[in-house]
Amino acid sequence: MSVTLFDRAELLENLDGDAEFADSILGDAQVEIPKDVAQLKALCSGEELHSIRVCAHTIKGMASNLCAPALRDAAFAIEGAARDGDLEGARAALSELEKIAVMTVEAIKA
């Protein structure tokens, strides 16, 4: 894995060193990431490309805010596939995102 999973130092810097707030949103992230990934997985089993795109976009935004670039990039790939009407491409990228999501949550917990 060449892309960083989670950069705590960057997050703290973005939050002006507010460690308490950082811990608070990281606590939320441990709940939100699996929830959103499960939602995306459910959507990928259907054919509603717009909903897949919106959900992947949400995960991308969250990952970006959390300084979790690997998850951001994986979500971006699915969002792009959905935008281009490539349902199979979105489905194919899902398993990679699921793996990265699990690792990201572990990195956040560490």
């Binding site: 909903s51 976009h57 970006s64």
Partner: protein
Amino acid sequence: MKILLAEDDKISRRLLERVFSGYGYDVVSASDGDEAWRILEEPEHPHLLVLDWMMPGVTGVEIVKRLRERPDGHTYYAIILTSLDTPDDLAYALDGGADEFVSKPYHADALRARANVGRRIVSLHHTLSEKIRLLQEANATISHLAATDELTTLYNRRYFNENLTKSISAAKRYKFPLSLVMVDIDKFKAVNDTYGHSSGDTVLKAFADILRSLARTEDVSARWGGEEFIILLTHTARDGAAVMAERVRSKMASECLRVTSIPVTVSLGVVEWGDGEDPELLIKRADKALYRAKDEGRNRVVLG
């Protein structure tokens, strides 16, 4: 100032709330576009908005488009927050009605500074709206004063003349009868000389009350000048106007004394508008009938 933050992702929403908390903003949050729209339909809702473009339900840009169609649509300041950042995206959002477009990832201080611009503009809108409301109230007061006699609060001569001209035009067009009653308080000079001007004013006010109590909603009663009054009765022929005039005469004769302790009567001249007659001529005929009533001994109604 209230600010609405609409962002579907919880973490992004919390970060956004943090940008504005403690900087004089009263933060209202929505977790999707539908919730944001519900908030914007409540009374006392925010007018400064930071909306994520892409959200489940209504998108941020759709919210702005809908807002601009409302009568108060110009009073909002909307910042669209998005990771869509091509020139086409920017043009689409701004043409849709957004005031500002901020790309993600945003810099907290820069986003707040843009919202501060919005806060100044929204404040300006509020101030202007309040000034316009006060101006409208003042105009209404001025219009009322311009049409009203200060002492009796009946209509004044100017308003009456405008109304008479319009009513005659309508009577011509729709062929309905219209009558005038000209009234003069008998020996009013003697009232002033004997009891003083303040008592004279009391008599004028008491007579105005009598006119108000007897007039129909559509009648126009006015102080013509001094102790002279005039009543316009639309959809009323001369006989009907004479009945009304007699009621006025009778009520004044019986009630004014009780109100003012001064025995005062009135004389009245009644005329009906004839097709083609102009307002000046009609008034002149009413005046003539009134002076016949005076000549014939006062406290009476004369038909002209």
